[in-house]
Symmetry: C2
Subunit: 271 residues, 2 copies
């Protein structure tokens, strides 16, 4: 199933794709739908067709958005590091997120970089979960770009301040359930800037896969339905290039995982 939060003339709704139409799920958005714990297959058949539906940010209210860094072998090598024994984790906020077609509005003068990523949507409450429980607790997968403000990220030892700029992490457009896509079998993760491919790798090469990450995180903090875990980015980021390359005002960033969907966001610098 393909799930989304869709905007329509009357507001927003959680929705499920049925052929080429979106049918309403009983909640105003996918965060609320997952939090309510409604059974998906039953809900999917019940809803009315939503006319004029446009997918927006699918999860507007995750309580936790946790990101893994250094999780693709090639990206790890380009930063000059060894393969990790534990996942490197940092955080964003619900405020950090924005929709699949929204502009990325940031103050001018920052070193803004791309990081295409597979994102995992939590479907169950997970507390000290083993791998099997974590895997069964995945609601689905979506696309994210962990847009990073490199000059702030590297001001101090902790990356958080370069990672959690409000409205700068596009997510969506749909959440695809695990019966349809399997990162272990392989999903291509692609980033293009103004049409030029700058990142491409496959989730088969993840050091820590989605179930590893959810189980590991749940050891120290509970995960709940609608929480979001970003699985890390492949090689090809701008900061690791020679010469370094950062996003400019008006640049168009496309982030795509074939089988899930794509984001298209334009950088807009403000004073």
């Amino acid at each position: 199933m393909h799930l989304a939060t869709v905007a329509h003339p009357g507001g927003t709704s959680a929705a499920v794709l049925d052929g080429d139409v979106w049918r309403a799920l009983p909640a105003a958005d996918l965060s609320a739908f997952l939090a309510a714990g409604s059974p998906l297959p039953a809900a999917a058949r019940a809803g009315e067709v939503i006319d004029g539906a446009v997918p927006v940010l699918p999860l507007p209210a995750p309580r936790k958005v946790i990101c893994c860094g250094l999780n693709y072998a090639e990206h790890i090598r380009e930063t000059g590091r060894e393969l990790p024994t534990h996942p490197t984790l940092f955080t964003k906020y619900a405020d950090s997120l924005t929709g699949p077609g929204d502009d990325l509005v940031l103050p001018a003068g920052l070193q803004v970089d791309w990081e295409a990523e597979l994102a995992v949507v939590v479907g169950s409450t997970l507390r000290r979960a083993d791998r099997a429980t974590a895997l069964a607790g995945i609601a689905g997968y979506t696309v994210a770009n962990d847009i990073s403000v490199r000059d702030w990220q590297y001001r101090t030892l902790e990356w958080f301040q370069g990672k959690a700029w409000d409205g700068a992490t596009p997510v969506g457009p749909v959440v695809v359930t695990p019966d349809e896509v399997d990162p272990a079998r392989g999903l291509e993760v692609v980033c293009r800037v103004n049409g030029e491919q700058v990142q491409r790798d496959n989730t088969r090469t993840l050091v820590f896969d989605p179930a590893d990450l959810l189980a590991y995180i749940s050891t120290f903090t509970v995960l709940r339905p609608g929480d979001l875990v970003l699985t890390g980015t492949p090689g090809g980021v701008g900061v690791a290039r020679e010469p370094q390359r950062f996003l400019a005002d008006g640049d168009v960033v496309e982030t795509e995982i074939p089988g899930i969907g794509g984001l298209r966001n334009t950088v807009r610098f403000t004073d």
Copy 2:
């Protein structure tokens, strides 16, 4: 004013201290009271006396809990680093917090360490605030202990996974408004383990003061009423001692800021 969330036989309530009695504020807890934006002095006079009131975790539902590391000159020196030009920031969750007298329940076998801290409670919505706006947006100050799981903190470059263990960061018991305490004039921050003083320093020596931190954070992410900013810990943490010292099952950690109040928490290791 001294504000709190108090437990009483009928539930919980936001409350204000009037002499030696707690008077009810119109909300179930201080998070909800601050979010509603009620004027404090008016509310303070209106409430009924709450019999059997016991202060608990004052802010059960902050959307953001942001911590500053390396902010006391002596603590920075003990870690072998230079004075910073920017604050080092990392995050916890509402789930990380626990009450002023609660046990710190953690799995056995972790390297658990203390970090006594002054915590700042946000009172206004702050977005790209300057220092003066940030200072005016402080609702008050409370006491926190940024209990840290050192083996997890240092597994990777990012400290988050050692800092955000559920229910391991005691906060409270009261929030004191800025008319009564001023970190710039100086507040002693003290930590004792089983009665032995292990940390003592003064907030006069903070590299980044509360207004600096709120203004800086608000550059990249909005702060809202009830959010919490922990200002960093003085020298004397266990991991920096020779030999290193970590907390054992049954150890009693007291965290005190005279003029605000004190926490008293017992470490309980589980299997």
